[in-house]
Subunit: 165 residues, 10 copies
């Protein structure tokens, strides 16, 4: 099984079907070039999860990022600007209430099983408020382990206290 | 606003209503003692998120852990063994498809927005498989930041490759 | 029809049924005293919508606010501290996906009809990000109008830009 | 990040897919001209949120408004009249029970968290009835704030008392 | 089969289970007195459908109406004032998305089958707007017919035009 | 705002998308001719709501009605017979559990708020049975009113008693 | 396994939990007497499926039928009249959208698999209309078969043609 | 209204949209030939409901049945074999949880109202088990009745006892 | 962790809440006796999964099985006969559309991921029909494996061919 | 009925509609060659259920498996590599919450009826943890039986214990 090699992202059922067609073209270009998200990320000075989010229409690329990505993928920069450029803003989210792909479901299960405990600990550590999912960085690391390598998935989000008025 | 002081966990609408009554008693004892999950966790040698999970009926306490918790809370150990002891196994999960409390919803939103990108990066880094939510540690840290402290929420789960046959 | 007189809040079907019983007692005390949310709000230096939110278990009262409210309602302060005091955090939200009471449904309809246009204008005015519902003040004013008085409902929320990483 | 500059509205997944194609053309023309909703609104004497609603098929343009918009966008007026002219009436609403885009979800969360308190305060201030979402103006203002500018979202709707018979 | 005789209203599964208990008492008193909604309605000068709505917690009784109803039913007026009096406002609606009782389902089917045609005719006759369900009278008449008597169900609601701004 | 003038019916999102294409052609012909449903109805001796139902695929036209409608609209009668003629039967209903267009939602709200009271009054007036939505006429009238004209929506349906066996 | 012997009906999870308690008492009395629905049905001159429907609150018993049933079960007739007598009307239906008990699910599967074909054949044999579920008899017979006895489930319902107007 | 004449089956919204296109062609051929399901059934020695099920993709035709049907409809047998021949197996079911067409809904209502009573009587007559919907014949007969002809819908299914192990 | 020792079954949230109380008593007796399902099964000559099904109200115990179980658990046999004896039949199923406990969800995921492939292979091996879940044995075995023991879950169900008619 | 002969898999409604088109081509090639899943499986050294999973886009083929399959089916290997090759990862799952095809529904019913008992027995035999659906083999065997052959469906999954931390 190829690990951390040059592969294109998982292109499943409806991942691109509700997005502007430019996103499918970005992924195809990435596949042709044999680049990983990590390689693109390093080339443009971003993290791979953010790059993947941008490739799935879940993050907004700035004009500079569009230019960098076009250069790395060796594709026409203008087409990206014209369709998902400065004037475009993502409609974020998967669009299905309960994700059914096993990889994504496990994340959902994490929320279902540990959601209430996480809420309790956040309140104990920070008070009344939430962890922002807007001012938030998501990163994934591979942690070697003799019993089987581990996925380190980290959400680093700003705490936002509830105001009163 | 009290941060990381001795407070009891958030006791909301239906957090305890579908659990054996012993769980409400554990939380009340914790409140009376003015202990945080972190203090209990340190006293019994576990992490605070796991302790919170156990207090919300989302994790199984071993007989030794029951004994330690009873000692820290100064409550009757026998009652815990009798109701949620060695013979008891949790029915895990929140029970609502889309969580609506804003703190828990943000976690769900994280899955909805970053689920597909995370899946893509996991496949790039590890191949075809999933991140286990069973062999998984969940931790929360407070990361000081002059622009507002941040919540560091980490899932550390074993990668499980799909087998073929 | 009594307008802005001393009345208790709408106590409908399940408004209090999933909350700690102290909330029903607060509303009953308010009814006995014949106080409006606005009168309580002025007495404790808060806005009436925030007070209503606190009375329906949707906001967290600080120990000082509990003391002030107990004094205004002439009820035992200790009982409030003991049940929904410093250690307690609300589990917010109505709990039904599509509200069916006509008053609340109209707000939902506002989101359904104007949600996409509001999103578009927020992006035009502020860029990629959201309007916070955590750092947000909600106020209601009566605007006299010869053709029928109008409800002025205002959400005053901080803009939070999406970060990249 | 471009604020209040000439940008086109957020064009997400299904924003235009269920609307007559003329709406996508209106937005494309707006993008080509580099106009904001506010600029169009000022040119035709309307508010920007209403213009955005009209561009997303959520409001009905009068023949005069169609003429004005066509003139501002420098596009063929006849095509608009022919497809969404005097004989056309919008089928309003987003079409999904629980919006999942984070910007729109925050509005929904506002209804879920503050819906019952808002209902209570409306009844206290106005009696038994509702706030109209038909005879209602929706406006958005940018309120400068040193800690981060704020979104002022206002619903100005007529109070409609329940009749008895 | 008893037609238009003194019977109490249909008391099905959860009709009263989510309402203040006073409503079950009103229906029991009505049954004991052997009064129809029509007889109560005539005695207090209202229509029978409105009275039925009030008895099922779907309409707000004024203090005068409470007094009249208590007199007709020969029950204690004070108990009604104390629980669902001037300070009380109904949380309206059945609470289930798709009604399953065959009588109520037929009404729902009427909306599903004729909803779009009714919308089209309202727009043709009145323009862009809605038929109010707040400023609306609902009446039921028995229309004799040799092939089987007919139910005449009428909604008489004010037309509310959409405003622009 | 044009009232009762020659306009075509509301052509919203999915009104025609799941119907045989002939229905969109009927509406386009109606629009070209500038005819209201009422004018077509008078020309063919039917009621306008029934005509609207037929145009939205919610009623079955007889061969004679097809002939009359084709004549009034000056379109080819054969194409209608060939596609939705004698051999064709409608698949009735909107297809969405909870209608979200505000005009149609108000009808749904009428069922949600007055459904149980209507059931109670029907049982009192007629006994155990239902109001037929099959042997039912639906009509809409404009009732002038100085405070704003009113919509008179009437369902005239046969009462069907439950049999026992 | 006891076939057609004196047994009480299946009393599962929530069969009686949302019904007036008298229904549980009827079933208990039936069990004590060791009577089948068929035996009760023959004693009172009705069919066993109708009797079962009445025992599960899905049919309305006339005063005479109440008297007969009370006599057969040797229980107090007055208690039945007082609670589900002439003034009472059933709120019919299972209350769950998709039944999950395997016996009831098979009936649902019959509708899902054969619903469209049945609709087509009804239209071919009868024209545009429906098969009434109000003027309908439901019967169950045991048909001996050497390969395993068969259940003959028959719905005998009046055809109701759609009217036009 | 044409009864039992040569008509094609109801071709509603999505009846054929999710099936292989050959099914729409079968129905068109049937319409051109002016044949009823009953006539086709008699010609090929099957029942009309089974034929209708086959035409809606709810039953599997054997190669011999394909040959017979092709002969009766005078269409190319090879095209049927090639697409839905011996190698093809139906994906049965309507695909919507709650059918909304009034004809099919009445069948669903029959399950909702009589499902529990039918279950009870099946258990009384047969013991613990189900009525098979696989080894089941569905037939429809027209039963003349001076008060209006009746639909006789019969399910003749094998009883399957639960095994223990 | 105790494997295959004397423990009682998982008693989670609502496992017993919708069942006759005798089931909770059976489980408590089992816990007091320290018996596994396997030990009870061996004592009464059944398989442990069937015994577990019976203890969760998902299978019907015969009078002989009730007697054996009462003897093994040393509890009063009469109480079981009286409540869930010969006259009682289970209302089977979990009652939630998508199970959320991780153990049960994995089984559901098995259906979601392998359902279509299993259907295809069953048709290839057996033709048009289903695998019975009524005439079906479910067994669980522990298969030792140096890399971690495995669960062998087997469904052994009769193939039922679709009949035609 | 053809059993275990060369047939193609069940190609129902949406089995391929949401997959890359190459999957439909694989199935068509399989049909042309008249091969069963079992024959392909034997030719490439895998199990037939895994092959079926791969053909329905539910399993990832390695480059070697792609080569073998292309050889067996005599189709162009390059097209498979290009579209669902090393860079492609499946989006697994049926995509409908409750499967409605009777074959797949029976598997779902198995989970609904035996899910809780299976959970209980797994905990008794293995402790707190789950049966992996990732490290899991699914096999189907035909077990001859004079009363009707049986389907042996086996899940052979690794037990994964919950960790604590």
């Amino acid at each position: 099984m190829a690990n951390a090699q040059a592969v294109v992202p998982t292109v499943g059922k409806s991942a691109f079907s509700e997005l502007p067609p430019i996103f499918a073209q970005l992924s195809e270009a990435k596949a042709r070039k044999g680049l990983t998200f990590d390689q693109i990320a390093k080339a443009i000075g971003k993290d791979e999860v953010w790059v993947a989010a941008a490739f799935y229409g879940q993050a907004k690329m700035s004009p500079e990022e569009i230019a960098s990505i076009a250069k790395v993928l060796e594709i026409d920069e203008g087409a990206i600007h014209a369709t998902v450029g400065a004037h475009w803003f993502p409609n974020r989210s998967l669009g299905t209430a309960i994700p059914s792909d096993p990889v994504v479901y496990r994340l959902y299960e994490g929320v279902m099983v540990y959601g209430q405990p996480i809420k309790a600990v956040i309140h104990e550590k920070f008070g009344d408020g939430i962890m922002s999912m807007i001012d938030c960085r998501v990163t994934i690391d591979r942690k070697p382990d003799p019993k089987g390598d581990r996925v380190l998935l980290t959400f680093d989000g700003k705490f936002l206290p509830y105001i009163t008025w």
